[in-house]
């Protein structure tokens, strides 16, 4: 009961207080950011249906590392590599800091998620599962997936489709730019249903 109330409350908050964009884009971004904005949105809100992640308010260190990894190929994505490669170290840091400073409206919860999916996602996120020997996502990603800069990105309010695609990618070994194989070793022990459930759950939390 407590669980349901808490979940319900967070959904309502997310829906009722969209953090509108205008004031967040008050300072002009770096030139390089314009290219990012064409896909990731003017305020870094992402394009959830297209699996394009939300960047607004994300840890600058995390974003900087991802740009570096795209450029070097450590994180594989042809489209992102083309954008990341030409950026200098200073450009990357500037772009990362810019998106970290933005706020953007929250994405609506994934309409396809069922209550039982959300409950399972919540269990994995907050508590983990001894049967699968998977620890809680929140251990590293912070309370309610709010992120732990510098290392762990926020997950709350992220596109469910993007999260599921990335988890899949970790599991298949396509994505491997994690320290100590932390993500890949955990995701190995999740099945498809758990991947969908935990992605839907974090998406449903709404962004700060």
């Amino acid at each position: 009961m407590v669980f349901l109330l808490a979940l319900g409350a967070s959904v309502i908050v997310a829906a009722a207080s969209p953090k509108a964009g205008p004031e967040s884009a008050k300072r002009p971004g770096p030139a390089a950011a314009v290219i990012c904005q064409s896909c990731h949105g003017a305020n870094g809100e992402g394009a959830p249906a297209a699996k394009i992640p939300r960047l607004a308010g994300q840890s600058a260190d995390y974003l900087d590392k991802q740009l570096r990894d795209y450029a070097s190929g450590a994180r594989s994505n042809e489209v992102m590599q083309n954008f990341a490669k030409p950026l200098s170290e200073a450009d990357r840091a500037e772009v990362a800091a810019y998106f970290a400073s933005l706020t953007a409206p929250s994405i609506a919860p994934n309409p396809r998620a069922t209550d039982s999916q959300l409950a399972r996602g919540r269990q994995l996120a907050q508590q983990g599962s001894e049967a699968e020997r998977v620890q809680a996502c929140d251990n590293c990603h912070g309370p309610d997936g709010s992120g732990v800069p510098r290392s762990a990105p926020y997950l709350a309010g992220q596109s469910a489709d993007y999260l599921a695609a990335e988890l899949q990618s970790w599991r298949e070994g396509k994505r491997k730019n994690d320290a100590g194989k932390l993500m890949s070793s955990v995701v190995q022990r999740l099945n498809d249903a758990d991947v969908s459930a935990v992605s839907a759950y974090f998406s449903s939390l709404g962004a700060e």
Binding site: Q127, E130, R133, V134, Q135, N139, G180, K181, S185
Partner: protein
């Protein structure tokens, strides 16, 4: 009303590391095994998850994972002329309780002892003559050699997945490892953890002084690992909450993460928690155990008959169980006769604090319980003790395990103990200090021992264990010597101020030192000076095996867990291949 239960093949007292491994092996061999654990069942999920598991007040200060000393403390005194009093708050050492035992809250430091340690009395006489030691020292050989234990060390380390760099493989010195170590048969299962900045500073300084730094062997793993039992572990995230805490990441090797999933899946094994074993029962000859008697959490008393009884508790509790059961002759310090409780030893922990300028950023919180860098140049018998008047030594290392806000606040000597001055010093030095650990050996002596307290009893009405201990002169001299060496390294690191704190007498139970309590049910080849034979079998009651650090005749310069793991597999070998096929004495008295 004692309820008598159905007889089983094996009953194990305590389901920690030793109990889990023994139970797994014997259950897999087809024996019916019951494990009695006085604490609760607990697992990585849900019990060890954050944020609850990072509660410093609960775990560091209030010792949530430790033996409940409102019900079962030990009593303590420095000398047999004093009256012992119960230790009402664990500080000096921290015996764990609950499924998985003390290993749940260990730091993961996984050293082997050296060949010399197992034949300490013989080797000391050979090298330094028979009158070298103080008269009160009662060190002795273990009755087992390093060469005999090597395969079992190897097996235990591969069970844990220990991360390290070998220094000596089959006699060949390996660059980057510890050149002083006794030969191992192969490399560690996983590479060392990443070196932190303080470790790098230490390594450079130690190298410049001609010493041989190496990465601390860690059972907080550097990479994901699947052990020979098929259990998977993750890599450590350097959160700095190992000792006194459980690990939420499946990254620290504990019974929960390396063996319990296999054990608990075997229907030959039954785990019973909340069972406080009162005694091992003997038949009228007093030469055969018939099982154990325990009381459950509802206060009901049970007798569990068994053909074989294995005590696998924390060292101190193994000793107490034998004393409560009347197995073996209790030690008498006046006459020097008797064996149970004899040769209680500890470890002699000193420290060096190196205080740096504000531009040297240490970030002490980025650590695991075993991610340090250290030297063995002044450990064990790795240096010439001629003319020094003591044996033994310490590893010296930048092995700081955490920067937790309540527990970690290094300040220079002379700083006020509280108030504004203390606060300012903490702020100034927190992130600019390297704390060395000088992890020293401990000789056994005639006057240090364990027995039953004549006055104080536990919550079930049984006499408490009484500890009589102070630091032997041998070890105080050792502490002073190695601390001076540590101070030299601190200075070579470029610290602005280096403060050495050699361990001094009297021993006090009110300051944390180490949980490496050893001895009391010592192993050996002579029943007049040992409680168990070289296979950890009771000389007096051959169907009782006592497996724990209580078997160590004295304590070496390193953390004892790896050696206990090796001894466990060594004893299991003898149990499975010899004892259980033909029960009886494995060594004739």
């Amino acid at each position: 009303m004692v309820q008598r239960l159905k007889e089983v093949d094996v009953v194990i007292v305590g389901v920690g590391m030793v109990g889990s491994i023994v139970a797994k092996e014997l259950a897999a061999a087809g024996y019916k095994v019951v494990g009695l654990e006085r604490g609760e069942a607990r697992f990585t999920v849900p019990e060890f998850q954050s944020p609850a598991v990072h509660d410093e007040l609960r775990f560091d200060i209030r010792k949530a994972l430790m033996q409940d000393n409102t019900r079962e403390p030990v009593t303590f005194r420095n000398a047999s002329s004093e009256t012992a009093l119960p230790v009402r708050r664990w500080e000096s050492f921290l015996p764990g309780t609950g499924l998985g035992g003390s290993m749940v809250h260990w730091n993961g430091q996984t050293y082997r002892f050296q060949a010399n340690d197992f034949e300490l009395a013989t080797r000391t006489k050979e090298r330094y003559g028979k009158n070298f030691l103080d008269k009160d020292v009662t060190i002795q050989d273990w009755g087992v050699t390093y060469a005999e234990l090597e395969p079992h060390y190897d097996r235990f380390e591969y069970l844990l997945g220990t991360s390290g760099k070998a220094g000596n493989i089959k006699g060949e010195i390996q660059p980057g490892g510890d050149p002083h170590e006794s030969p191992r048969s192969r490399e560690y299962p996983t590479p060392p953890q990443k070196e932190h900045f303080q470790g790098a500073l230490f390594r450079k300084a130690a190298t410049s002084l001609g010493y041989h730094p190496f990465p601390q062997p860690s059972s907080n793993l550097s990479q994901p690992y699947t052990n020979p039992e098929g259990v998977k572990l993750n890599a450590c995230v350097f959160c700095g909450f190992c000792e006194r805490y459980a690990c939420e990441h499946y990254a620290k090797s504990t019974p929960q993460t390396v063996i319990l999933p296999v054990l608990l899946a075997n229907s030959n094994f039954e785990l019973r928690t909340g069972c406080q074993v009162q005694r091992i029962n003997l038949d009228s000859s007093k030469k055969k155990a018939t099982g154990v008697t325990y009381i459950d959490t509802a206060g009901r008393e049970f007798e569990q008959p068994a053909s074989l009884v294995i005590t696998a508790s924390f060292a101190l509790n193994n000793v107490r169980m034998l004393l409560l059961s009347g197995i073996g002759k209790p030690y008498n310090p006046q006459s020097g006769t008797g064996v149970v409780g004899r040769n209680y030893a500890y470890q002699t922990m000193s420290s060096v604090a190196a205080f740096f300028d504000q531009d040297v950023i240490i970030n002490p919180f980025m650590a695991s319980g075993a991610s340090g860098t250290l030297i063995n140049d002044f450990a064990g018998d790795n240096f010439d003790h001629s003319g020094l008047g003591f044996i033994g030594g310490a590893f010296i290392g930048a092995v700081n395990t955490n920067g937790r806000p309540i527990q970690y606040h290094p300040v220079p000597p002379g700083t006020p103990a509280w108030g504004q001055g203390w606060k300012e010093a903490v702020v100034k030095h927190y992130n600019h200090t390297v704390m060395f650990s000088l992890h020293g050996s401990s000789v056994s002596t005639r006057q240090n021992y364990l027995d039953l307290d004549p006055t104080y009893r536990d919550a079930w009405g049984q006499p408490l264990l009484r500890m009589t201990f102070d630091f032997p002169q041998n070890d105080l001299k050792m502490a002073a010597y190695v601390t001076a060496k540590g101070v030299e390294i601190g200075k070579a690191m470029g610290a602005k101020l280096v403060a050495g704190a050699p361990r001094k007498a009297p021993y006090t139970t009110t300051v944390y030192q180490t949980t490496h309590n050893t001895g009391g049910t010592v192993m050996g080849n002579d029943p007049r000076t040992s409680v168990v034979n070289r296979y950890l079998q009771s000389w007096d009651v051959p169907n009782v095996f006592v497996i724990g650090a209580s078997a160590y005749p004295q304590n070496a310069s390193w953390n004892p867990t790896d050696t206990l793991g090796a001894l466990t597999y060594w004893a299991i070998d003898a149990l499975k291949n010899r004892y259980l096929k033909n029960p009886g004495r494995l060594v004739s008295a």
